[in-house]
Symmetry: C2
Subunit: 143 residues, 2 copies
């Protein structure tokens, strides 16, 4: 029951919350030992802060919850491939696993040849269509 699809669906709901606030719709959840310890969505416009990506907020919240800065035994489910900034932060966090909904070929970290931490397992393509479609829909509305 607690599959990757289950948790990505919750990340997707965070992306929907961002969409409703006129933010680029990206959402994430962090799971530790089967428990959700952080949920976040992009808030760059609301907070007037380029660093307020979903992943950055979730890393900070998770560390606060865990009482330590390393995200051991944690999995982040994120609807869109992290950017350079967020991938750098995830690398510092030594998170155990990152699950990505859909690729961001242009702004994502993979095509920039940036690595996560050697300990981090990476899975790509969970709820891929929904995670891609919500971003496309957002930008269609902006034209």
């Amino acid at each position: 029951m607690f599959t990757d699809e289950y948790f990505m669906k919750l990340a997707y709901r965070e992306a929907e919350a961002a969409f409703d606030q006129d933010e680029i719709p990206v959402g994430c959840v962090v799971v530790s030992n089967g428990q959700i310890i952080a949920k976040a969505h992009n808030l760059t416009e609301t907070l007037n802060d380029v660093t307020a990506h979903a992943e950055m907020q979730a890393i900070t919240s998770s560390a606060e919850f865990l009482g330590g800065k390393y995200l051991k035994n944690c999995t982040m489910y994120i609807t869109l491939e992290p950017c350079v900034m967020c991938a750098g932060a995830l690398a510092w966090s030594q998170i155990s696993r990152v699950v990505i909904g859909t690729r961001d070929e242009q702004r994502g970290f993979i095509n920039k040849n940036i690595s996560l931490h050697p300990k981090t397992e990476l899975t790509i393509g969970i709820l891929e269509n929904e995670c891609a479609e919500i971003v496309k829909e957002f930008f269609r509305g902006k034209r």
Copy 2:
């Protein structure tokens, strides 16, 4: 009088404050139209947060001061070359100029072939010896 060395000296004082708190000694200031609008030093241990690098805090503070997320007409003076995370954040901020004290060949963004924003002018090597020495001294004390 308000030279690059002058402002880097203030960034260096921030690095000293980090050193005194047993944090990896990196400091920065952000200057806009000759005025200092943000000062910060590394607080990753104190805050238990891998994202609490000097640059990240200063970007957030500067945007709050300016009331907008883009750091137009701003220069960041940072004692140590930014990491991947911070370079990614600086790129999103579209900051006008970044002045680096000393290189970080291993963890800095330059050797990872990451770019700042095309608008961002980059200067390297202001107060280089002091900025490098304080980091070396910190790690000597850790051995």
